[in-house]
């Protein structure tokens, strides 16, 4: 197998979409998730995000990267306005509809209506869920960290409620999310079905 090598000068010289595909794939497999929000008039928005990280379990904190406001304004401005949002796992049969939420719809257009995904409301939670999603949770905004290098934002939220299928929860709290069909994404447009290999015991020296 022959290997190849690229310098930062090479990377800078690449055509824009080539570089976008390449660098977006380089960091590896990601969590494809639909984020549901409302504006202050309770008008719903739904958008696919994939750059999501676990930050900590106590308190339960999850972060995601939001692109610059001019490229992706709705989710972030809604989160700023309401302080609450939902994350909804995507399973195989939802991939096309989920991907379609990345289209640049105008303000006031509901991605739920455009994609056919079912909007779901739950008592006392003022942000919309994806009805079809089998693993979903609510986040309360903790902090929005501006990334000065490129105008993106690191958005930190605290898990406020979780809804999921009972049968995916293992005895020790591990979630077999593959049993709910949760998929992974790669780059900006690749979708993958992860197959379980193993769990390994706590490593000791």
């Amino acid at each position: 197998m022959s290997t190849t090598h690229f310098t930062s000068a090479n990377i800078q010289s690449w055509e824009r979409f080539y570089r976008t595909n390449f660098i977006n794939c380089l960091s590896g497999f990601k969590s494809a998730t639909l984020i549901g929000t409302n504006d202050t008039a309770a008008y719903p928005n739904l958008a696919i995000f994939s750059n999501i990280v676990h930050i900590g379990a106590a308190p339960a904190l999850i972060g995601f990267i939001n692109r610059p406001l001019e490229a992706a304004p709705h989710t972030l401005s809604n989160i700023k306005a309401t302080g609450i949002y939902t994350m909804n796992h995507i399973h195989t049969s939802l991939i096309k509809a989920a991907h379609q939420t990345s289209a640049k719809y105008a303000s006031g257009v509901s991605e739920f209506e455009k994609t056919g995904l079912t909007i779901e409301w739950k008592e006392n939670i003022p942000a919309p869920f994806v009805g079809e999603s089998k693993i979903k949770y609510v986040l309360e905004l903790e902090e929005i960290v501006p990334i000065k290098q490129n105008g993106t934002y690191f958005v930190i939220g605290k898990v406020a409620a979780i809804f999921l299928e009972e049968n995916i929860v293992d005895e020790d709290g591990f979630l077999h999310i593959e049993n709910a069909g949760s998929i992974s994404s790669l780059g900006i447009d690749g979708y993958y079905e992860p197959h379980f290999i193993t769990r390994l015991p706590y490593a000791k020296p």
Copy 2:
């Protein structure tokens, strides 16, 4: 399929390891990656990380979450000291050795020696690579953002060089990392093999 519901009070009441497993899985599939660093005496360190995000392609920025210093001191202090680190994809046959790097070895113990992974040096790059890894890249430290809510750090680096197998690069820059056997992780100890489903065209309203 019956669904179940947990409040933030439930989450807080869980036994520590149950909560760690559950919340670490909740955010979905992740990129399992070995980070190679040196201390100022050029003594190498290697550790597995999974909370990695793509931040942007121009400049090419990738971030990761480092646990609090008392839990995971070596990688972060080395990055602070030298400003340079490598990220190395993990393929199926490397999973056991990669997982073993998470053991709490004392300072001055090389995870390369303990796990049998091959240390690899490249000209003019003062951080170690994993010889077996088929997709690897160098990052220059841009910024360390302390996360005040739990003492973790969001570490932002700029891609300075990339080494990979030629045959995984598609015409438009997409990387078929599954052809190099790159795996995904879930939670703190689950490993998965992602199977390609599809790439979808740019979504338009």
